[in-house]
Structure formats: structure tokens, C-alpha cells
């Protein structure tokens, strides 16, 4: 930027042109493959669309249909439970892991590497492995849970148990991400602040509650935002673990569009619903982030 300001007028104009040229390919790809298709989905959702033709304009009929479709309602309920439960547990565990990783101890570097492993695990593969551990009789986890008396009957044929299992797998794979975001937040807190609190007589829990957590607020909000949006769009875990027994919003859309292609229009309106609610979630979080977040995130 400084060099542009210093340069001569023609040079600056050349730079502007070059800059636009460098950004253009990225913009074109994003425009063609994400923005235009999303707009087209909105269009399809207002029509009697099939995979063959976009059909007649039907107004809100597709939306009315999914609003009354028990399968959509179940998908919405599952997704809401999944999102709230998974993100809440991940936040608490992520904070605990971040605090541990922030301490000085022998083998910290090793633990920091190991903790990242679940994050790199493909979700669809993790779901397969979870099913393997939950098989009746031969699965290790189902056997243990049955022995302890926590589970009666088959986990893989109970919708409630399947949803719980999907949440647990999500917690396993996504807690590292939350932990690392919060760890970055912890590392940006100057130790002088905590020392000052100690001098003032604050115990460890008071320091955590009154000093650390308020300063971690921006990092926590970012973690919650990213995780909430990912969980709200959950597809892999529910599709592979549920094996047609449970739906999330995304698997509902997928089923309508790709499996039974006759439901194309209904799937499109459900897709618009996920899109609109995601943007709404993002906007709400960005607002609260902007409101109280500037104090600590001064990097």
C-alpha cells in the first residue's frame, strides 16, 4: 500500500488494474460455483421444479409443503439438538483442553500434536468406525455400555441413541478445533494481567472467572460461530451413522435432490431454509463479536 501511495499516478493505476486482475479468477470461481447456484436454488424453491425442468411458478407452495412434512420437522429437531448439544459440550471440553495445553509440562509438544489428530479424521470414516464400535454384541462400546446398564437393546436401531452417538463423534473430531482457537486466545492474554489479579488476592478460580474468561470472549464467540455453522449444516455424520434412520436438514435436502429426484423443489426450499438460517446465525454472532470483542482481540 505504501509503495502505491508513493508511486506515480500511472503506476498506481496500473497497480489497481493488476490487483483487480489477480483477484478476478477467485471472484469468478466463487461467483459461478457458489453465489449463482445459491441464487438458482432460491429460484427453484419457488417453482414446481424437477431435475429435468424448472417448471411453473408456485409461490410458497414448496415451503408450505416442507413446513408440514413430518420428515422435515424431525430433521429440523435433530439438527437443533445436534447443534446445541455438540457445540455446548465442545466449548466446555475445548476450554478444559486449552487450559491444559497452556500449562508448562513435559511432553506438551507431543500432546499438542496428538490432540490435533481427531480433527484431521474424515467424518464419514469416523462415522463408519463409530458404527463398528456400536455393533450389537461384537461392538466394544455397545458391550461396555450394556454391561454398565446405560443402554438396553440395540444402539444402531434406536434413533435417539444414533443421534447421541453422532454428537459424541462430532465432539471427538471437533473439540481440537475449539481447543486450539481458545488456546490462541489464552496465549494472547498478557501474563501481567493475571499476575496483577494474583497480587490483588484472586485465587485460581477467581482469575479464571473474572479475568481469563472475559478476555477469552472474542475467541469463544469465533469458536462458537464456526462450530455452530458447521453443526447446523451437518451431513456426513448423520448420513453415514444414521443409515436412513435419522435425518439432519442437510441429509433431508440431499435425499430430496439426489436420492429421490422427484422431490427436487422441496429439497430446494429446505436448502434455502438452511442457507437463510445460517446467514442469520452468522449475522447475529458477528454483531455480538463487534460489540464487545475489540478489547482483547488487539492483534
Amino acid at each position: 500500500m505504501t509503495s502505491a501511495r508513493r508511486g506515480l499516478a500511472p503506476a498506481r493505476r496500473g497497480e489497481r488494474r493488476l490487483g483487480a486482475l489477480l483477484v478476478a479468477p477467485t471472484l469468478v470461481v466463487i461467483l459461478l460455483v457458489t453465489l449463482v447456484p445459491v441464487a438458482a436454488t432460491v429460484y427453484l424453491s419457488y417453482h414446481h421444479a424437477t431435475v429435468e425442468s424448472s417448471g411453473l411458478y408456485v409461490g410458497l407452495e414448496n415451503y408450505r409443503y416442507i413446513a408440514q412434512d413430518p420428515a422435515f420437522r424431525a430433521a429440523l429437531e435433530n439438527t437443533a439438538i445436534f447443534t446445541v448439544a455438540a457445540v455446548a459440550v465442545e466449548l466446555v471440553l475445548g476450554l478444559a483442553v486449552a487450559i491444559v495445553l497452556h500449562q508448562a509440562f513435559k511432553g506438551r509438544a507431543v500432546l499438542r500434536s496428538i490432540v490435533l489428530l481427531p480433527w484431521a479424521f474424515p467424518l464419514s470414516v469416523a462415522a463408519v468406525l463409530a458404527r463398528l464400535m456400536l455393533q450389537d454384541q461384537t461392538g466394544i462400546v455397545s458391550t461396555l455400555l450394556t454391561e454398565v446398564g446405560l443402554v438396553h437393546g440395540s444402539i444402531l436401531s434406536s434413533r435417539g441413541d444414533l443421534l447421541t452417538a453422532a454428537i459424541v463423534v462430532d465432539v471427538w473430531t471437533s473439540t481440537p478445533f475449539v481447543a486450539y482457537l481458545l488456546l490462541a486466545g489464552l496465549q494472547s492474554i498478557p501474563s501481567s494481567v493475571l499476575e496483577a489479579a494474583t497480587v490483588d488476592g484472586a485465587g485460581p478460580f477467581q482469575r479464571l472467572w473474572h479475568v481469563t474468561l472475559p478476555l477469552l470472549r472474542p475467541a469463544m464467540l469465533v469458536a462458537i460461530l464456526f462450530r455452530t455453522l458447521q453443526a447446523w449444516a451437518v451431513y456426513d455424520l448423520v448420513y453415514v451413522m444414521g443409515l436412513n434412520q435419522i435425518d439432519s436438514l442437510s441429509t433431508y435436502v440431499y435425499r430430496d435432490i439426489r436420492v429421490s429426484e422427484l422431490e427436487f423443489a422441496h429439497g430446494s426450499s429446505a436448502a434455502v431454509f438452511i442457507f437463510a438460517t445460517s446467514i442469520l446465525i452468522a449475522v447475529v454472532f458477528m454483531r455480538s463479536l463487534g460489540r464487545g470483542g475489540d478489547k482483547a482481540a488487539s492483534r
Partner: protein, 287 residues
């Protein structure tokens, strides 16, 4: 995979709490490692032990047959090649486009650069399913269904926001002196990027490449939507279908296949942990 990480509160720095810290470290490590060890166990015991009720905790038999089975299966080796191809091509394209765009947005006075960056980043909030219906129609009309290029195109578009953001962050951290010096010596802006900035920004480029590669290797929805022919499936689509297609799913093969497809990622993670974390947090914290 149900071992929970510690529910206990923070472990204060005080000396007396070293035991609590050790316990917490042990629980965290175990919650990651124990499920993985279990999968290793399932992948090396024979089918008789596999079917035992209740399951054995420690392996009593040992066989490499599951690994032999999957590597003899052309579908599996083919899926490895497909995954490598899709993730490799997507990574190259995304890193190239993302570096150019990130450099321009960080350094040049691009018109509306703030709005452009915001628009690019907003895409990372888009749920993937909201785009698949029209893309499905489009790819069918273009005869791109069942071509890995359809998946590459969509994966690229959805990976670009992260790539651009990481590169913008990295370029902004670099001092402008180097470029200025190069420019005074008569280098054009592109030459300055190529000769001076890129070597310095290499860590940023590597971070972006690793993150994108892992994300795309793990991608499931698009591959499961646009690829019908099982010869074209990447590993994420093939492995779940090991179960669905067979009456008695071969758990040993499933476990072995799952481990094989995760090993490359594990090596990346264990080798480049710092870099990956830097990229992940740059993508989120530096707002």
C-alpha cells in the same frame, strides 16, 4: 470414541496441582489414542475373533489378511488414486488463485477491496447443500457428472475463502521493505511477488496447501452427490459403502481401510502441527 475429555475445571499453576494436571493430560491423550488403538486392533485380528461375543479387549490373533484384502481390491486402490487426484488438483488450483488474490488484497489498492474480501469470506458461511441442486443440473448438462472435475470445481470454490484469508493474513504480516527495495531496483509488482515475496511467504503457502489438502481429502457431500460410478469414488465415499453393499460387512477390512486413508493425514498433522494450528487460528482469530 466415547472416552470423554476431562470434565474437571482448570488446573491452576500451583505446585500442588501437578497431579491433577498429569491426570488431565493422561485423560486427554487416552481419549484420542484409545479409539485409534482399538481400530488398529480390529484391523489385525482374524475374523473368528472379530465375531467373538463379548469382544476381546486385547488381540489374541494376528493377521495381515485385511490389509492384503483391501490392497488387492481395485476399488480401494482406485479410490486412493481418486482422492489423491481430487485433493491434489484442488490444492494446486486453490493455492495458486488464493495466493494471487491474497497478495493483491493485502498489498494493492484494489477497487472495493474491503467489500471483495467480505464477499469472499461470506462464502465460508454458506452451507454446502444450499448449492447442490443447481450444480447437479448444471453438471449433468455439461456431462460433468461422474467426472472428478465437477468435485474439483466445487471443492475449489468452497476452499478459496480459507486460502485467501490465510494468505491475506500472512502477506499483511510481512514488512513492505523487501518489496519496496525490489521495486526501487526496477522489478515490476509481479516480479516482486515472484522473486521476493513468495520465498518469504512460503510458510503461508505451505500452511494453506496442507489445510486445503486435508479438507478436500475429507470432503464427502459433493463427491457423494456428483459421482455415481463407484470407480470414480474417493475414499470418503467408498469406505461407508463397504458396509452398505455387503450382507456381512467385513469389519477388519473397514478398519484397515480407515487407517490406511487416515495415515497420510496423521503424518501431515504430526509433522506440521504448528503450521496447521497457525493457519486454523489465522482463519478465525485475526478478525
Amino acid at each position: 470414541m466415547t472416552r470423554r475429555m476431562p470434565k474437571r475445571g482448570p488446573t491452576p499453576r500451583a505446585r500442588g496441582s501437578t497431579v491433577a494436571l498429569r491426570v488431565a493430560v493422561g485423560v486427554i491423550a487416552a481419549s484420542v489414542v484409545v479409539p485409534l488403538l482399538w481400530i488398529v486392533k480390529v484391523s489385525i485380528v482374524d475374523p473368528v475373533e472379530q465375531a467373538q461375543v463379548p469382544p476381546t479387549v486385547l488381540p489374541h490373533s494376528f493377521t495381515f489378511s485385511h490389509y492384503r484384502v483391501i490392497f488387492a481390491d481395485p476399488l480401494f486402490t482406485g479410490a486412493l488414486v481418486n482422492s489423491l487426484r481430487i485433493a491434489g488438483i484442488t490444492t494446486v488450483i486453490t493455492v495458486l488463485l488464493g495466493t494471487l488474490a491474497g497478495y493483491a488484497l493485502a498489498r494493492f489498492r484494489v477497487p472495493f477491496s474491503g467489500a471483495v474480501l467480505a464477499a469472499i469470506l461470506a462464502v465460508s458461511f454458506f452451507p454446502a447443500v444450499s448449492a447442490i441442486a443447481p450444480l447437479f443440473i448444471e453438471f449433468r448438462d455439461l456431462h460433468l457428472l461422474d467426472s472428478y472435475w465437477s468435485v474439483v470445481a466445487v471443492d475449489t470454490a468452497f476452499s478459496l475463502p480459507l486460502a485467501v484469508w490465510i494468505m491475506v493474513t500472512f502477506f499483511r504480516q510481512l514488512p513492505t521493505d523487501l518489496e519496496d527495495a525490489a521495486r526501487i531496483d526496477g522489478a515490476g509488482p509481479l516480479q516482486a511477488l515472484w522473486r521476493v515475496m513468495l520465498p518469504v511467504a512460503a510458510p503461508g503457502v505451505a500452511t494453506t496447501a496442507i489445510l486445503i489438502f486435508i479438507t478436500v481429502w475429507n470432503e464427502y457431500l459433493f463427491a457423494n452427490t456428483f459421482l455415481f460410478n463407484q470407480d470414480g469414488w474417493p475414499v470418503t465415499v467408498l469406505i461407508p459403502n463397504f458396509t452398505a453393499n455387503q450382507f456381512t460387512p467385513d469389519y477388519g477390512a473397514q478398519a484397515a481401510a480407515s487407517l490406511v486413508v487416515t495415515v497420510p493425514l496423521a503424518i501431515l498433522v504430526l509433522t506440521f502441527q504448528r503450521r496447521i494450528v497457525a493457519g486454523l487460528t489465522a482463519g478465525a482469530i485475526n478478525e
